[in-house]
Symmetry: C2
Subunit: 244 residues, 2 copies
């Protein structure tokens, strides 16, 4: 059973202002929920089908609500709700890591939730820990971002910050890369020491202000006719190169 | 102005059965429409804002309808319609290229429109010409597929076919690759001669039947914790390797 107030509350978390007020966000689908249950994140409520509750180990530290498929669909942000939805506490922001050791990712004004989620998943695959987003990027707790991380959200450190101010604090020994049409061929790039890769907005790319701070311009070798690559696709190709 | 019948017709093309009946599909947004106008595709109707019509060179071979923003939104499949929508004739299917020279892509049961569109865009960037989809894959003329190709749809050959039958016709000299967790590290793969890369369904991967036909198992080197990568992301990393 689910009450009208519960429906209203869970659905309200689709909006950022309500997530901030309630310090909570929503995680959907078995894969994502299982990953969150196995993480350090604090679950406050779980809404699940009877079959799901029977088949999964449930903790006693949070409220579990058995719901019907119809009820689950009512609180879901997905076209087809899965078997389970968790309401999760937004963790306290970690102090920002400013060592920039290893590989670090700067995301400037990434607006598409699928792109941010996919980049988080790519970083988690390659063991990249620190992602720095500009303050006007899409919210990481947006349901579509959470969904497309496929559980990786709990394993990367994501900071929202002023990238222009932050980039001035980067030690000189750290190389700062950005992808352009006229850069060095990615295949020829020799990666030495700590690095930052900057990815820009889906339509406008990296802003001129941030571009002026880069130390290395790189290019993904183009052999066909497409004008550009999707930002998450570029991130995949470049991060793979830097991690191998 | 747009008539009720025109609205009904354009909206009906969001469904595959109607696209088949009318042998037509819809292309939205300036970037995509410009690419289609510059291709060999036959445009039957254009719906555009006054400003767009004034700023763009219009051919006389198709009907141009000046519409308001409100009218455009009514026929759009996008949350926010752009400035222009084209109704385009589905081209006659090309005879299937079965040489398999160079790099070729097999897509088995790709269901997500964004994934198919993104893979088409990746192929167009890297100059890969031939994509073979299983018959139960998402339709390439689905509005979301068209949208996410960003104009690349007109520059690749996409065939829907029975991949099990096709794979038996592949010459022995052509290597057939698929990505698995236990394959050869992609970085160490030596690519010689013509190749096919098979990508599988988003949830289930490559089917056992098709897997048994592969000649090479490959793996994208994993250093972190994510269980898997999105199929378009895997395609980007692997195709980049094969084209460089």
């Amino acid at each position: 059973m689910i009450s009208k107030n519960q429906i209203k509350f869970v659905k309200s978390l689709q909006q950022k202002k309500n997530r901030i007020t309630h310090e909570s966000f929503v995680v959907e689908s078995t894969k994502n929920v299982i990953e969150i249950l196995n993480s350090n994140y604090e679950i406050s409520q779980l809404f699940a089908l009877k079959s799901w509750i029977e088949n999964n180990k449930i903790d006693n530290s949070y409220s579990v609500n058995e719901v019907t498929e119809k009820e689950l669909q009512r609180i879901s942000s997905l076209k087809n709700a899965s078997e389970v939805i968790a309401v999760v506490k937004i963790p306290i922001r970690k102090e920002m890591n400013c060592n920039f050791s290893g590989l670090n990712i700067f995301l400037e004004e990434i607006k598409d939730p699928g792109n941010l989620g996919t980049i988080i998943r790519i970083c988690d695959w390659f063991g990249v820990k620190n992602i720095y987003c500009s303050e006007n990027a899409v919210d990481v707790y947006n349901p579509k971002v959470v969904q497309s991380t496929m559980g990786s959200i709990s394993r990367v450190n994501l900071y929202y910050t002023n990238l222009f101010e932050l980039i001035d604090k980067v030690p000189k020994a750290v190389n700062i890369y950005g992808a352009f049409m006229d850069g060095e061929n990615l295949n020829d790039v020799k990666i030495i020491g700590d690095s930052i890769i900057v990815f820009g907005n889906e339509s406008n790319g990296i802003s001129k202000d941030l571009e002026s701070k880069l130390t290395n311009r790189i290019t993904i070798n183009k052999k066909g006719m497409a004008e550009s690559l999707n930002v998450a696709v570029s991130a995949a190709i470049i991060i793979n190169k830097f991690c191998n």
